[in-house]
Structure formats: structure tokens, C-alpha cells
């Protein structure tokens, strides 16, 4: 803030507000402690997970059987991977709900035979499959034919629960549902004659071929979990003979098909009971193949139809979410951490450590990058050997949502307390400022612009008990002391006059005696003149000091100012060396005042004008009026007044005259303009001075209040 040319600090209110900014530390500290708490909770969770992992590991301790594969060595068999599916598959022939998993399909068959791709998934104890056959001219089943091999069809080979080979044939009569039949050894006739409803499927046909989505219960497969799929192609719709067959397993199979890579049902049954929300339990074998998975990090997909509804959150919610996400990493977004490739085997450093015999924890970002996941792994032992690894993964979402609530709480409380404090501070500072301003105003009003104390200074707020109250009282006392001192000062000239008159009289009477005794007249006279001057000085001083009294005791009467001025100037023209030009308005000007003092005012102003007028220059006197005031202007041509001198001009003991002598030789003490100003103020106006715009003279303007018409 700038006052005049000085730069000063901000106002009190701003300072208090600035100081109040320290309060912003409170939410910051809250945030810091929240982060520390988050760290603590995360560590705790990691510990708990590790503990749970060892618990599960202990549960699986020694259960070597769970990690053993089927007794006969089937490792030469080609494997059909069975991917765990995040959700249910709608059997409609479209690949959308496989969520990109279809890209991991395996391709089978070579030209000229039919080529096809296959992907298998598992969800809720059912196997799902997507079979994509390249066949630009499919031959559909003819309803008139009983034989099933007279059209394009798919053959399922598998070993049932009793390890007996079973054959299922899938055939279709066009786009839509497919039918599955248990068939004889030659794949010609359906043995029971009716479809096998355990296998369901749907076919969709386009220009490039056909696509079959199917599902069958996992329990249809026996313990050996062998499954083979072959696609038979009939190219001539009239002959309807099988031209080629493409298989997922070698043709010379010795009764074995593909081994379905499936997790251990028994293990999964064990850990199923330990399932936790937002936690996923994995069991791996030594080769880090997945043996069992329980639970899931992401909620099941059944509700994906509702997600649109869930996304329609209000704008402020999204803003708050974004803000909280920045501050603590909390998010309301769904966790996406499903990678189908990882559902069969994993290769984490953590798991390798566990295989090495050391349980440990690790934190990682979720695959969607929005969440943090804590993973804890413990080895499963069988005596001294390590037979597998338990991995528990859990997101920190619970902690984060806890933290999120705390943060909202803290933010709300901080906001409330901050605004309350700010309001209180504002009110308090406004009150303080108001009191200080009032005190300043009162102090200011205690003296007029010339520094004279008012008769009774009115300082308010002296009853307050605080420091401002002290200040008010101090100022009140100070002003009272100043007023007393000023009274003393104004009484001083009169006292002085009393005291000086006595010795003056002694000197004066003695001089007279000296004169009558024949003293040298020259010296006696000069001594008399000196005494006269002292007397005049003392009188002037007393006059200036007591003019207030004199003015207030004077009779204030309606006065015809224009007539007074005309008479005055008429008489002054005879005495004055300068021409005096007088301009008065046509109508009479009446003021309420004391004629003697107005005459005195004219004396002082004219005296001043004459003293500073260049020789042979006119002095111009004019009287004019406006609504409430009349303006008496005395203009003289001569030296101008410096700007810096103007303020001091009307003060006591200020004289522009060199050596204090005027042209008339009278003594000047710098009282004239001071007295003139007092007289103007007493008459409801003021006295001002300005240099002429031509720069060769000065005009004094005395303003006096006009008599209101009613008072005339």
C-alpha cells in the first residue's frame, strides 16, 4: 500500500489473514499422518497376507498327491490350455465376451484339410470353447439323412469318468444351435438316438467359415482329463463324403488325446474355503504352473451390464475423486487385474524366491495401473523339499477406501474449522480496525488543521480493557495535557504583557524625568521609540492570543459588507500610494459579523498587498458571491509565493517581509495573516492564497459566510 510517497505495509486485516494462512498446516499435517497411517496399514496387510500364505502352505504341507500329475506319463501329449475366464460366456457364436482371450487360440490343421483355431476356458466348473473353422463352403446336416457324417461336423474325443473313450459329434443345420450326439465307433450313427444335452453350443456362419461356441461340464472329463477335437470337412453337398479331417492330436494316438491343462480340483476345493473378497489365492507347483486359484481381485463380471449406470456419477464426485486420487492414490475405479496368460503359469521374482524356500511380500501396481496390489508368497513343503508355492494377492483398495473416508472427513473438518477461523479473524480484525480507525478519527478531530486543540476532545472507547482501550485512555490524557498546555501557552502573552508593562512604565516615566532634567533629547526619543515598539509587540502578541476571546465576546450583527468595503476603500485611496480598483456586485452583500474585525481583516490584507506590490501597480479588490459565501479578493502585482511557503503563510510568527519591516515602517511579527485567517474562520469561511496564472502577482481570497435571507 502506498501513502503519499511512502510505501507502507499491508493493513491490519490483511496481516491477520496472512498470519491465518499458517492454519493451512492443519490439513497438510492431517494428510501427512494419513500417509503414515497408510504405510502402516499396508505393512500390516502385507504381514497378514504373509501369515495367511504360511497358513495355507501349512495346510498343503505334505500333500504331495495334490501336486502329482496323473500316474501314466502323459507328458508327451500335446496340451490344451484351459484358461480361467473372468465371467460367464454367452453362447452366441460371437467372440466379444472372450475379452481378447481368443487371440491366444491355437491353430490346427493344414491344407488341403480344414484349418481351425481353438480356445478353451473355464468358469464355474464348466468348460467353454470357441472353435473357429475356415471353410468357405460348409455343408449342413440334411434332416432327411440319419447318418451324421454326411455333413461338416466336429468330433469330440474324451475319456469319461471311468477312463472309457467317449465320442461326441457336433453337427448343425445352419446358423443357430448345434446338436451333440454320442456316436458309435465309426462316427456314423447316434447311439442313444437323441442329442446329448450336457454339451451346448451355437454356430455362427459367415463367408470365411463357421464359428462354434460351446460349453460342457468339467465333470464330463475323467481324472486323466484327456480331450481331443477334430473337424471333418464334407466338400461335395451331393456326394456328402468326408474329404478331410483335421485333429488337435496326432492321428496315431494309441488311444490318447490332448491333455487339458486344468488346475487341481482337489487343491481348489481346499482353498475355496479360504476365499476372501478382493483377494486371490494362487497355488503353484514347482514349475510355477497354476494348480489352483480361489477368489478374485476383480468382482465377477456378471454385473457388467450395470456399469453404465454406475459410471453416471455427479460431476462433483468425479472432481473429489480426481483430487483424492492425486493426494493419496485412492480411486473408486474398478480393479482390472486379469491377465489370461498369467492364469496358467507365472514367472514372478517373488515366486522364484518362494521356490528358493523364502516367503516374502511384494507390492506392484495392478495391470490397469490404477491400484496397488500386495502379493505375499510362501513355499509349500513336504519334508525338506519344496513342492509348491502359495501366493496371496490383495489390493490395497480397502485401506485406500478407509483412507479416502478419513481424508474426506479431515478435508471437511479442516474446511469448516478454517472458514470458522477465517470468519472469526475477519470479524475480529474488522472490529480492531474499526476501533483503531475511530480512535484515529477522534484523535484527528481533537485538533483543527492548524493544530489548535478543541475545547473538549471526545475520545470514545476509553472503557475497553484491552490495549486499544489503554491507548484511548493514554490519548485522552495526552490530549487533556496538551489542551492544558495550550491554555497555558495562549495565556502566556497576556501574562507577559502584565509583567512587561510594569518595567516598561518604570523605564518610560524615568525617561520623561531624564528629559525634563535636560537629558539629550535624541537619545531620550530613541529610547522612547524603543519602548513604544516593545509595547506594540507585547500588545500584538496578546491580541493574537486572545483574539478568539475577543471575537467570541464581540457583537455579531448583520453587516452590509459591500457598503463597508466601499467606505473602507474610499478612505484608503487617500492614504495609499497605489491605485486601488474596487469591484463590487450590484446587489448588497450581507454577512453576519463584527465590523471592527472585518475592518481589521481588510487592514491586514491591504497592508500585505501594499507591502508586496510593485511600485506603480494597481491593487485590485473585488467582492463576489455564490449561494452561501462571499469572496473578497485582493490582488497585487509583485513577487509570487513559493508553493512550499503557502502552508506556513497563515501560521503564527511567519513573515515574508525581509527583516520584518514593511514599507510603512511598522513592526511586523508575522501576526497579520494569522489574525486575518482567524477572523475569516470566525465568520464561517477561510483565507487562501494563490499565485496569479500570469506569474506576476498574488491573490488572497477571504471567504465569509453570507447571511441567510431569513437573518437579514
Amino acid at each position: 500500500m502506498k501513502v503519499g510517497s511512502r510505501i507502507i505495509g499491508p493493513r491490519l486485516g490483511s496481516k491477520l489473514l496472512l498470519a491465518g494462512c499458517v492454519l493451512l498446516l492443519i490439513p497438510w499435517l492431517g494428510l501427512q499422518s494419513l500417509r503414515a497411517m497408510q504405510q502402516f496399514l499396508t505393512d500390516g496387510q502385507a504381514e497378514a497376507q504373509l501369515l495367511t500364505a504360511s497358513g495355507i502352505a501349512a495346510l498343503l504341507h505334505g500333500r504331495k498327491d495334490l501336486f502329482d500329475d496323473s500316474p501314466d506319463s502323459t507328458s508327451q501329449l500335446a496340451e490344451l490350455p484351459l484358461y480361467p475366464l473372468p465371467g460367464r460366456i454367452l453362447l452366441d457364436g460371437f467372440a466379444e465376451d472372450w475379452q481378447g482371450l481368443e487371440q491366444h487360440s491355437k491353430h490346427y490343421g493344414t491344407a488341403p484339410g480344414p484349418t481351425f483355431s481353438l480356445i478353451l476356458g473355464e468358469n464355474k466348473q464348466r468348460i467353454y470353447g470357441l472353435l473357429n473353422v475356415r471353410d468357405s463352403s460348409p455343408v449342413y446336416r440334411h434332416p432327411a439323412y440319419l447318418r451324421l457324417d454326411h455333413s461338416d461336423h466336429v468330433r469330440f474325443y474324451f475319456k469319461g469318468t471311468d477312463n472309457i473313450d467317449q465320442h461326441l459329434l457336433l453337427t448343425f443345420e445352419g446358423k443357430g444351435k448345434i446338436s451333440a450326439y454320442t456316436v458309435d465307433e465309426d462316427w456314423r450313427m447316434a447311439t442313444p438316438g437323441h442329442p446329448d444335452y450336457r454339451l451346448q453350443g451355437h454356430v455362427d456362419i459367415d463367408a470365411e467359415g463357421y464359428r462354434i461356441e460351446f460349453s460342457l461340464p468339467l465333470t464330463m472329463l475323467g481324472e486323466q482329463r484327456q480331450l481331443g477335437i477334430a473337424v471333418a470337412d464334407v466338400s461335395d453337398p451331393r456326394q456328402r463324403t468326408i474329404t478331410h479331417i483335421s485333429r488337435t492330436f496326432p492321428q496315431i494316438n494309441q488311444g490318447n488325446y490332448n491333455r487339458v491343462l486344468i488346475r487341481s480340483v482337489a487343491t481348489e476345493a481346499i482353498i475355496q474355503g479360504l476365499e476372501k473378497e478382493e483377494a486371490q489365492i494362487w497355488v503353484f507347483d514347482r514349475d510355477l504352473n497354476v494348480r489352483a486359484i480361489a477368489g478374485g481381485l476383480a468382482a465377477q463380471r456378471e454385473d457388467y451390464l450395470n456399469t453404465e449406470e454406475q459410471r453416471a456419477t455427479p460431476l462433483w464426485q468425479s472432481v473429489v475423486d480426481a483430487l483424492l486420487g492425486t493426494l493419496v492414490g485412492a480411486t473408486r475405479q474398478r480393479l482390472e487385474d486379469f491377465d489370461p496368460l498369467q492364469t496358467l503359469s507365472r514367472d514372478d521374482a517373488l515366486l522364484h524366491t518362494a521356490i528358493g524356500g523364502l516367503g516374502s511380500t511384494q507390492r506392484r501396481a495392478s495391470l490397469d495401473g490404477r491400484h496397488e496390489i500386495i502379493a505375499a508368497a510362501q513355499p509349500i513343503r513336504d519334508g525338506d523339499t519344496i513342492i509348491g508355492v502359495v501366493l496371496i494377492e490383495q489390493s490395497t483398495a480397502t485401506i485406500l477406501s478407509l483412507q479416502r473416508h478419513s481424508l474426506q472427513h479431515i478435508a471437511l473438518l479442516s474446511l469448516l474449522s478454517l472458514s470458522a477461523i477465517v470468519i472469526v479473524l475477519l470479524l475480529f480484525s474488522a472490529r480492531l480496525t474499526w476501533r483503531i480507525t475511530r480512535l484515529g478519527g477522534d484523535t484527528d478531530r481533537a485538533s483543527d488543521e492548524w493544530g489548535r486543540m478543541q475545547q473538549s476532545a471526545n475520545i470514545r472507547g476509553t472503557h475497553a480493557g484491552d490495549e486499544i482501550g489503554d491507548l484511548s485512555r493514554n490519548i485522552e490524557q495526552l490530549l487533556a495535557r496538551l489542551a492544558r498546555y495550550q491554555q497555558f501557552l495562549s495565556a502566556l502573552p497576556r501574562t507577559l504583557r502584565h509583567e512587561i508593562n510594569n518595567p516598561l512604565n518604570t523605564a518610560s516615566t524615568s525617561l520623561e524625568h531624564l528629559q525634563t532634567q535636560g537629558g539629550d533629547k535624541t537619545y531620550v526619543d530613541s529610547a522612547q521609540r524603543g519602548l513604544q515598539r516593545i509595547s506594540a509587540i507585547v500588545d500584538s502578541l496578546a491580541e493574537a492570543a486572545s483574539l478568539e476571546d475577543a471575537l467570541s465576546s464581540d457583537e455579531i450583527l448583520p453587516l452590509n459588507l459591500s457598503a463597508l468595503l466601499t467606505t473602507y476603500i474610499k478612505h484608503q485611496r487617500r492614504r495609499c500610494n497605489h491605485e486601488i480598483e474596487l469591484t463590487t456586485p450590484a446587489e448588497e452583500v450581507w454577512v453576519q459579523g463584527s465590523d471592527i474585525h472585518i475592518e481589521q481583516l481588510l487592514d491586514k490584507l491591504l497592508d500585505n498587498a501594499i507591502d508586496f506590490s510593485s511600485p506603480d501597480k494597481n491593487i485590485e479588490v473585488s467582492l463576489s458571491t455564490d449561494k452561501n459565501h462571499c469572496f473578497l479578493r485582493l490582488k497585487n502585482y509583485g513577487p509570487i509565493i513559493k508553493e512550499s511557503e503557502v502552508a506556513a503563510l497563515f501560521q503564527l510568527f511567519h513573515s515574508r517581509r525581509v527583516g520584518g519591516q514593511s514599507q510603512s515602517g511598522a513592526q511586523h511579527l508575522g501576526l497579520g495573516l494569522y489574525i486575518a485567517r482567524l477572523i475569516c474562520e470566525r465568520h464561517g469561511g477561510d483565507l487562501s492564497v494563490a499565485n496569479l496564472s500570469s506569474g506576476d502577482g498574488v491573490v488572497f481570497t477571504a471567504t465569509l459566510a453570507l447571511t441567510s435571507p431569513g437573518q437579514k
Binding site: 510594569n502 516598561l504 520623561e512 509595547s535 467606505t567 481589521q600
Partner: protein, 238 residues
């Protein structure tokens, strides 16, 4: 026989100067420095005229008190205050007590001598009214008796100090003509007179006239010059 004049003044130099000047005029002078001694001496021998200072030693109102006591004994005793207390209020209280004149210091000895002479002459005249040598001058309702130093307005006597008498006399000498401040200053025959002094006197004179006659407006200001005696309008009764 010579008049006996008592001077009460605490300053020895001034007392000596007054006494010397008045003795030269052939008066019989007795001078006192304080109220007690003056009071004691005058109980036995009353002077013809008393010159009083107001502040005597530590008693700031001793002169007033003495005046009251003396006038209680002899109400016709001319008392002349000669004092450094020049405030209006002091002047008024002095004259109210019954003093004949009130002169502020500094005073010229010549003036003092002349003033005392006129007071004594006035006292003699009042004690033994003799046919006046000069008849009273009249101007309208104003009648001025130079010998008795008395002024009447509409047949009523005005209580004036000698200075005030002289100022009115100077104004009324040429009714209707302005009298300059300088002439009025000379008329007071005081030593140090300013315009303000004249203005103050004139204001007091007006007040005294107005006390007798509310419609009095015969003293007119000549702003920037002085005063003049305004003749009453012809239709007012003579």
C-alpha cells in the same frame, strides 16, 4: 492650599517617578508600597485624590479592595487606577467600584499630571458648583459640558471615563464629518494608543449610550479611516 495626593504603588522606581513628577506640580504627595500601610495612613488623613495600583506585592486584588474601603469612608473621593492589568474585565470592575478613571500602564507622566489636574478640577467643580464659564455645547440630543467634563444624552447624565469623554467631545466637535483614528488617538492623550484601543473605547461608549437609549445610532464607523458623529435625522424630536 495644595491638594494632597496619595500614591499606592509597590514598585519603588515607579512610585518615586510619580511622586517626583507630581511634587513638581506642587501637590503634597504621600506614597505607600502596600495596602496595609496605605490603609493605616489614610484612616487618619484622607487625601484629596488617590492613585492606585491593583496588584500590590502578593495581593493581586489589593487595589480593588483598597478602593472599596476608601470609597466606603468617602464616596466622593476621586480614585484613579493606574495599573498593568489592561484586560477589559479589570477595567470594567475598577470603574464599577466607583473609580473615576482607569489608566493602563505604561503611562506618560505628562498625561498623568494633566489627568490628575482635570480630576481635581472636576472634584472642585462638583464640590462647589459654580456658574460655568462656558455653557454646555449641544448637538442634537447631546450636550457636552467641557468644564464639568459631563455629557448628557436626552437630558440624562452618562457615566464616562475621562478618555471616553474626550473621544465623544472630539467626535462631536464637527458633527457629520469623519474623524480619523489618528485624531482620536491624540484626543485620548494617552501614550501608547492603537486602533484597537480606539475601537474598544468606541464600543464601550456605544454600550453606555444604548443603555440610556436603545435606538442610539449616532456614532458611525468610517471604515479604514475612523469614526464620525452622525446627526440625528431631522424628523426626530429636538
Amino acid at each position: 492650599m495644595s491638594y494632597k495626593i496619595a500614591i499606592v504603588e509597590d514598585d519603588p522606581d515607579q512610585r518615586h517617578n510619580y511622586a517626583t513628577a507630581l511634587e513638581k506640580q506642587g501637590y503634597e504627595i504621600s506614597a505607600y508600597a502596600d495596602r496595609a500601610s496605605a490603609r493605616e495612613a489614610m484612616r487618619t488623613a484622607m487625601p484629596d485624590l488617590v492613585v492606585l495600583d491593583i496588584i500590590l506585592g502578593n495581593e493581586i486584588d489589593a487595589g480593588f479592595q483598597l478602593c472599596r474601603e476608601l470609597l466606603a469612608i468617602d464616596p466622593s473621593l476621586p480614585v484613579l487606577f493606574l495599573t498593568e492589568r489592561v484586560d477589559e474585565i479589570d477595567k470594567i470592575s475598577g470603574l464599577r467600584l466607583g473609580a473615576w478613571d482607569y489608566q493602563p500602564k505604561p503611562v506618560s507622566l505628562g498625561f498623568l499630571v494633566e489627568r490628575i489636574a482635570s480630576l481635581l478640577r472636576l472634584k472642585a467643580l462638583r464640590d462647589n458648583p459654580a456658574p460655568t464659564a462656558h455653557p454646555a455645547r449641544t448637538t442634537g440630543h447631546l450636550s457636552i459640558d467641557e468644564d464639568a467634563m459631563q455629557i448628557r444624552w436626552r437630558e440624562q447624565l452618562l457615566e464616562l471615563t475621562i478618555t471616553e469623554f474626550r473621544l465623544i467631545a472630539a467626535l462631536a466637535r464637527r458633527p457629520g464629518y469623519p474623524v480619523a483614528y489618528e485624531a482620536l488617538m491624540q484626543a485620548t492623550i494617552q501614550q501608547y494608543v492603537t486602533r484597537n484601543t480606539i475601537n474598544t473605547h468606541m464600543r464601550n461608549i456605544r454600550r453606555k449610550f444604548c443603555a440610556l437609549d436603545n435606538a442610539f445610532a449616532c456614532i458611525g464607523n468610517e471604515y479604514g479611516h475612523g469614526y464620525r458623529w452622525v446627526q440625528e435625522s431631522p424628523e426626530s424630536p429636538q
